[in-house]
């Protein structure tokens, strides 16, 4: 696993770092107006800059042939990356506002799926953005219209999207082949 830790950090250190800095800046000293706007937009930022490029860039640069050509099976590669980046996103969202955790998870998962569907960065970002805003719009009405707090619902919706990503992955390549020693 530590191998994938290094790979995930090496590939995504830039985007994770500046997002963290942004969150700290907003949390530590920002007037409440910006704070409110950023807090709600954080889910979109993670979706667009973390989720969408995760797979879309690999397809676009054709480096999926490198990433999924190693011993580590593509399924584990995706699982560990989503796990690491997902939990980092949750931690940052928790810093901002607990309600955002659900939305952020959903946004991230939506981005990954959009990456699989479009396989190009800019379209993936566009779909993710539109999808995120639409779903926030649907759920944002009366928060308890679906019996659950909307952010929890989004979180569940996001959790459902992750297996969808794995299904799409296995269509793309035999994702679950065991790493041959």
């Amino acid at each position: 696993m530590t191998g994938l830790l290094w790979v995930t950090w090496r590939q995504h250190r830039a985007v994770v770092s500046w997002t963290t800095v942004l969150v700290l800046v907003v949390v530590l000293f920002s007037p409440d107006l910006i704070d409110w706007a950023f807090r709600n937009a954080f889910g979109a930022v993670v979706a667009v800059f973390w989720g969408a490029p995760l797979v879309a860039r690999e397809f676009e640069e054709r480096t999926y042939l490198v990433a999924w050509g190693q011993d580590v099976s593509p399924a584990r590669w995706l699982a560990v990356k989503c796990g690491l980046l997902g939990s980092a996103a949750v931690v940052l969202a928790a810093l901002l506002d607990v309600r955002q955790i659900g939305f952020t998870l959903f946004g991230f998962a939506l981005g990954v799926v959009a990456g699989f569907v479009t396989r190009r960065t800019v379209p993936a970002i566009a779909f993710t953005l539109v999808g995120y805003v639409l779903v926030r719009w649907l759920f944002a009405g009366e928060t308890s219209v679906w019996l659950f707090e909307s952010s929890v619902l989004c979180g569940v919706f996001g959790a459902v999207l992750i297996p969808v990503a794995f299904v799409l992955l296995s269509w793309r390549t035999n994702a679950f082949r065991m790493g041959v020693a």
Partner: protein, 265 residues
């Protein structure tokens, strides 16, 4: 058998069947769009065949034609990537390849030349100690000297480790003595699959007075008729003996491949 392909169809590939023994060097030749890359991708596991069965024994390494690589990584990062992402990783082998071809280790791959990027891709592939190495037009970015040295290094690697090498190429003239097996693909179908030495022995070009059949037993691959003269490229089973006024000439690999491709084109 290290690589077994039975009745595989995918995109343009139609019902491909062949087997590669371990430790052999096989050349995959074919016109553009004949399905070489698709076949290699299926063998590498990046594409799953629509029908048929593919079995590859052992570890597979695949280097695509455009040598894709993370442009933000330096060659050192790529070696670390190989180490982290593989159970079996031979840092020395990968590093010595980069050293031998003088690839700068600290510069980002995006800033390296195409040839250097190719060497980084080779180092990553060889470093994972594959049992089967699949290369899609490996020599296309290399200068003549590097090309010769890479062929020697790859063959030495095959000799040392008993690895099976399957590579696609357009430069047929350079196959002699390198590939001991030739697979010829034409729009998705395998039209020739044989040992290069046997193929050379079997094929002969017979020229003589105009006739519609050559004087020798064997199937005619290509026939050309002029007003008083005919030339036949024949693939015969046994020894090809041609008396006067016919004359027989041994055929080179390139002529053989071009003839087969032309016959089917």
């Amino acid at each position: 058998m290290t690589v077994r392909v039975a009745g595989v169809s995918k995109r343009v590939l139609r019902n491909c069947t062949f087997e590669l023994p371990g430790g052999g060097v096989t050349a995959l030749v074919g016109a553009n769009g004949a399905g070489k890359t698709t076949l290699l991708n299926v063998l590498a596991g990046h594409l799953t065949a629509d029908s048929g069965h593919v079995a590859v024994a052992g570890r597979v390494a695949f280097v695509a034609q455009d040598k894709p690589m993370y442009k933000g990584f330096t060659p050192l990062d790529v070696l670390r990537f190989g180490g982290h992402m593989n159970k079996v990783w031979d840092e020395y082998k990968a590093h010595s390849w980069l050293h031998r071809y003088k690839v700068p280790l600290k510069r980002r791959c995006g800033e390296l030349s195409a040839g250097q990027r190719a060497h980084v891709a080779f180092a990553l592939a060889l470093g994972s100690r594959p049992d089967v190495l699949l290369l899609d037009e490996p020599l296309s970015e290399l200068d003549p000297l590097a090309r010769r040295r890479v062929v020697r290094d790859l063959l030495a690697e095959v000799a040392d480790t008993g690895m099976t090498l399957l590579y696609s190429t357009h430069v047929v003239a350079e196959l002699g003595g390198v590939a001991d097996r030739l697979l010829l693909l034409s729009n998705g179908k395998l039209i020739v699959d044989g040992d290069t030495d046997e193929l050379l022995g079997q094929h002969v070009e017979i020229t003589g007075p105009a006739a519609d059949q050559p004087p020798v037993r064997g199937d005619v691959v290509l026939a050309r008729h002029y007003d008083r003269q005919s030339t036949f490229l024949v693939r015969c089973q046994g020894e090809a003996v041609a008396e006067e006024p016919w004359s027989a000439r041994p055929v080179t690999l390139e002529e053989l491949v071009v003839a087969h491709l032309e016959a089917v084109a």
